[in-house]
Amino acid sequence: MAAISFSAIRPGDPIPSQMRRPTALQIFRFSAVTWNAHRIHFEKEYAQLEGYPDILVQAHLHAAFLAQMVTDWAGPDVRVVEFGWTNRRYAVAEVTLLLKGKVARVWQHAGRSLVACDLYEENEAGDLLVQGSATLLFPPS
């Protein structure tokens, strides 16, 4: 995982996109580690009762995917100082999720080197599932 240098970053630069396909097992384990017993994440019949075709990917699992994309790109010496997201549309198990992002702003303030990014998650049909943002603090060069 190669780290990127602050001096090389420009607004508009894309963040290398990633793909995820959360399985029922992953969704189950995520509920387990977050101590979440909501049946909508492990019981298909219950999810269908609620009007969904299958078990839902947790909102925070979507967020974890986007955070990974950003930290994989930025490298281990960069700190995420802000991270936000809004879920726009649900995703069910075994659906391909496309993670994308781009640099929105690059600036220095009070001796800190900062990069703001816009983050997106879409399905293969191009529907926006999650909209997010992150601000990264780069180490002094």
């Binding site: 925070h60 930290t71 100082v81 802000e82």
Partner: protein
């Protein structure tokens, strides 16, 4: 409430009651973030970043121990051991026994995290949760009530680690 449209008169009444909760911080000891919990969370979400698995690697990059992944703290739905299964709602969620919001469907409206300082393995976390805003808006199918919370996560020295601003939607 439930499957019915939330009429404006009812939502105004609920908002007025909820407004009395604004600004009242509730302090809860959440517990220790263990190396195992960090690694299990990282493993589960598909992380391969050695920061979360290799203490020496983490220390070589400025952390005092394994750091918690960015979204981990606010991902944990329930920090308590329980409740008993018999005390869960039929859908498996925890009933927070809040009479003000009982009967409403709760939707997550998004989160914004301010990561002030890294949380690392061994930190013991306290949460101070404060409702900061409540309002209603007309939706496509009745009124929606928006609750904004500021959740401050502190470590064992009461140092601020994370601020999570969370929006909950009731309908």
């Amino acid at each position: 409430m439930g499957g019915d449209r939330l009429q404006h008169a009812e939502s105004s009444r609920v908002v007025a009651r909820l407004e009395q909760e604004i600004g009242q911080g509730k302090r809860t000891i959440l517990g220790e973030i263990s190396a195992q919990s960090i690694q299990r969370f990282a493993m589960t979400v598909g992380e391969t970043n050695p920061l979360y698995f290799d203490v020496e690697y983490a220390r070589s990059h400025g952390y005092t121990d394994l750091p918690a992944p960015v979204t981990m703290l606010s991902s944990i739905v329930n920090w308590q051991p329980g409740p008993l299964e018999a005390h869960l709602r039929p859908d498996g969620t925890v009933d927070n026994n809040d009479p003000l919001t009982a009967g409403f469907r709760r939707l997550g409206g998004g989160q914004r995290l301010e990561l002030v300082s890294p949380v690392v393995a061994g930190d013991r976390i306290t949460l101070v949760s404060t409702m900061t805003q409540v309002y209603s808006k007309p939706g496509a199918d009745g009124d929606l009530i928006f609750l904004i919370y500021e959740n401050r996560y502190l470590n064992q020295s009461d140092d601020l680690r994370v601020i999570c601003t969370q929006t909950l939607i009731l309908r």
